[in-house]
C-alpha cells in the first residue's frame, strides 16, 4: 500500500527535485518529532505528495531551513508547515495498521513490535483528527472482512479503500475555501485510493495465487488491468484539475501522470520502470 504515489525523479527539473526533497525531509522531521526514530522509519512518499497538494491548495506559509541528518549528512533544506504535520499524523496511523496487518499475515515479530510501539501515539492523533481516524479504522475493518469472505468483486474493496483515502485528502474542516474544495479533494483521493488498491492487487496477483492468499482480481482478465488502471488515474486527474493549484503543480502532475506508474508490473511480466 505504501510508496506508490511518488514522483518520477528523472522527469523533475533540478528546482523541482529540490522542492520535492525538501517536503520529503520535512515529513521525515515531523515524524521524528512525533515518534522519534520509529516515526522516521514510517516515512513514505505517498504522504509527501498529499502534503504538497494541501500546502499548495491552501497557499500555506512554509518555513525553510537547513538540516543535517543521518541519512543525508550534508546540510540540506527542509520545509515545515501544518500540512506536513497533518500528513505525518496520518502516516503514523496508516503505518500502525500496516504493521498490524504484516503481523497478522506473516507473523513477523518485528511487525508486532512496531505496531505495539506505534499504538502509543494513536490516542493523541485520534484526538486531533477524530473523523479521519474513525474512517481509517472502519474501512480497514471492512477490508479485512472482505478478504476473509474472499470477495471476488474487485469494486467492493477498491471503493472501500478509495473512501478511506478520500477522507484523508479532506484535511480541514472549516474555512471559507474548505467547503469549495472538499468535493474535488475527496473525489481525487477516492480515485487515487482505488488506483493504489488495484495496482497492488495487479502486482501481487501471481504471488497471491501461489501462496493461496486473497486477491480480488483472480477472476478478472489480465489484459484489462492496464486500461482499468488508466481509467482510475483519468478520474483522479479530472478531479485534480478542478482544484486551484498555486505552486508545485509540475511536481504534482509528475506524480499523477508518470510517478504513480513506476511500481506497476506490466501483465506481460516485465517490470515497467519509468514512463
Amino acid at each position: 500500500m505504501f510508496g506508490t504515489v511518488r514522483a518520477n525523479r528523472k522527469a523533475l527539473s533540478p528546482e523541482e527535485r529540490k522542492r520535492y526533497d525538501g517536503a520529503y525531509c520535512g515529513l521525515c522531521r515531523e515524524l521524528g518529532a512525533k515518534a522519534g526514530a520509529l516515526g522516521r522509519s514510517c516515512l513514505s512518499y505517498d504522504m509527501t505528495f498529499l502534503s504538497m497538494l494541501l500546502s499548495s491548495l491552501y497557499n500555506l506559509d512554509e518555513q525553510q531551513e537547513n538540516c543535517v541528518c543521518r541519512v543525508r549528512p550534508i546540510s540540506h533544506p527542509f520545509i515545515a508547515n501544518e500540512a506536513l504535520s497533518y500528513c505525518a499524523d496520518m502516516n503514523i496511523t496508516l503505518a500502525y495498521y500496516q504493521a498490524l496487518d504484516d503481523w497478522k499475515d506473516d507473523r513477523k515479530k518485528s511487525a508486532k513490535q512496531k505496531s505495539e510501539a506505534l499504538a502509543k501515539h494513536l490516542p493523541e492523533i485520534a484526538e486531533k483528527w477524530p473523523r479521519q481516524c474513525r474512517v481509517i479504522k472502519e474501512k480497514l475493518k471492512s477490508l479485512s472482512e472482505m478478504e476473509k469472505a474472499n470477495e471476488l468483486n474487485p469494486d467492493l474493496p477498491m471503493n472501500c479503500f478509495g473512501e478511506l483515502l478520500g477522507e484523508l485528502f479532506m484535511w480541514r474542516e472549516q474555512g471559507p475555501d474548505v467547503r469549495d474544495h472538499a468535493p474535488a479533494l475527496k473525489a481525487m483521493g477516492a480515485a487515487l485510493g482505488r488506483f493504489i488498491y488495484l495496482l497492488d492487487a495487479c502486482n501481487d496477483l501471481k504471488r497471491d495465487i501461489k501462496k493461496q492468499r486473497y486477491n480480488p482480481l483472480v477472476v478478472q482478465r489480465r489484459e484489462e488491468f492496464t486500461p482499468l488502471l488508466t481509467m482510475m488515474m483519468a478520474e483522479c486527474t479530472a478531479a485534480f484539475d478542478k482544484l486551484p493549484i498555486n505552486r508545485d503543480s509540475g511536481i504534482l502532475r509528475n506524480v499523477l501522470y508518470s510517478g504513480v506508474w513506476q511500481s506497476y508490473r506490466h501483465p506481460s511480466g516485465k517490470k515497467k520502470a519509468e514512463a
Binding site: E138, N153, D155, P183
Partner: protein, 232 residues
C-alpha cells in the same frame, strides 16, 4: 452444468473457509497466470469460477447487492464524515463520478423503449430514475444474460460506483451485440477519459507509451469490429 461441488472437489455443507480454501487450491493449479498459454487450464479455471460463484450464491441466498456501497456484511452503519450523500459508493452529493464516466446520461436511452422484456423495461426505468441499486436487484433475478442485460447492468453498476464491473459489463454487451451503436457508445465513453488522460500526460512531456499502446489496441479492435460486425 456439472454439480458445482464436485467441480471444486468438496461436499455440500462445507464451511465458508473450507470453500475458500478449496477454491484457492484449485486457482493455484489452474489459473492462467500460473499456466500461461494453456487453454485447458483456462477452461478449467472458468469452470471453477462459475462453480464457486454458484455455491456462494446459494449460500447467501441470492446475489446480495446491498453490499455494493462499500459497507460490508453486517456492518451497515456507514458514517464517513459529513460529505456523504444518498448515492452510496460514489462521491455523494458532489458526485463527479457518474457524469465523469458517462457525460450526458440521457444519450444512452434510445427510442426503442418498449421493446425489451418487462423485467428489462423495469430495470431501464429504475436506471433512468437513478435507482441503481434497485435496478441491480431486478437484474440479478434474471437468469438470461443478454447484451441488453449487460448494458443496463453496466449503467446500474456505474451508478453505484462499481467501475470495474461497469466496464467489463459494457464490454460484454458489445461483445454479444457488436452492431449495437448504443452499447458501443457507452464503452467509448469509458475509454474517452483514458485518452484524455494520456493526451494530457503527453502534452506535459511525459511519455505515456506504456499505457497508450494497450488502450490504443482496444480502440483499433473496435474500429475493425465496426466493419466486420462479428463478435471479435
Amino acid at each position: 452444468m456439472e454439480d458445482p461441488y464436485s467441480i471444486l472437489g468438496i461436499s455440500p455443507g462445507v464451511s465458508d473457509e473450507e470453500l475458500t480454501q478449496a477454491y484457492r487450491r484449485l486457482a493455484k493449479k489452474y489459473h492462467p497466470d500460473i499456466n500461461p498459454g494453456n487453454k485447458n487450464a483456462e477452461l478449467k479455471m472458468r469452470e471453477i469460477n462459475a462453480a464457486y460463484e454458484q455455491i456462494k450464491k446459494q449460500k447467501s441466498g441470492g446475489v446480495n447487492y446491498e453490499q455494493t456501497d462499500g459497507s460490508y456484511g453486517k456492518q451497515s452503519q456507514n458514517q464517513s464524515g459529513g460529505y456523504r450523500g444518498e448515492n452510496p459508493g460514489d462521491q455523494g452529493p458532489f458526485s463527479g463520478g457518474f457524469n465523469f464516466w458517462f457525460g450526458d446520461f440521457g444519450d444512452f436511452f434510445g427510442e426503442d423503449r418498449e421493446q425489451g422484456t418487462p423485467e428489462i423495461n423495469q430495470a431501464r426505468a429504475l436506471v433512468e430514475g437513478g435507482r441503481y441499486r434497485d435496478a441491480l436487484l431486478v437484474l440479478s433475478r434474471l437468469p438470461n444474460h443478454t447484451g441488453e442485460w449487460f448494458f443496463y447492468s453496466a449503467l446500474a453498476n456505474a451508478g453505484t460506483g462499481n467501475r470495474v464491473t461497469a466496464i467489463s459489463h459494457a464490454r460484454e454487451a458489445v461483445r454479444i451485440e457488436p452492431g449495437n451503436m448504443q452499447y458501443r457508445s457507452l464503452l467509448n465513453q469509458f475509454e474517452r477519459n483514458s485518452f484524455a488522460y494520456r493526451e494530457a500526460g503527453e502534452g506535459r512531456g511525459f511519455s505515456m507509451r506504456n499505457l497508450g499502446s494497450s488502450i490504443f489496441r482496444i480502440i483499433l479492435a473496435q474500429l475493425f469490429c465496426l466493419f466486420c460486425c462479428r463478435p471479435c
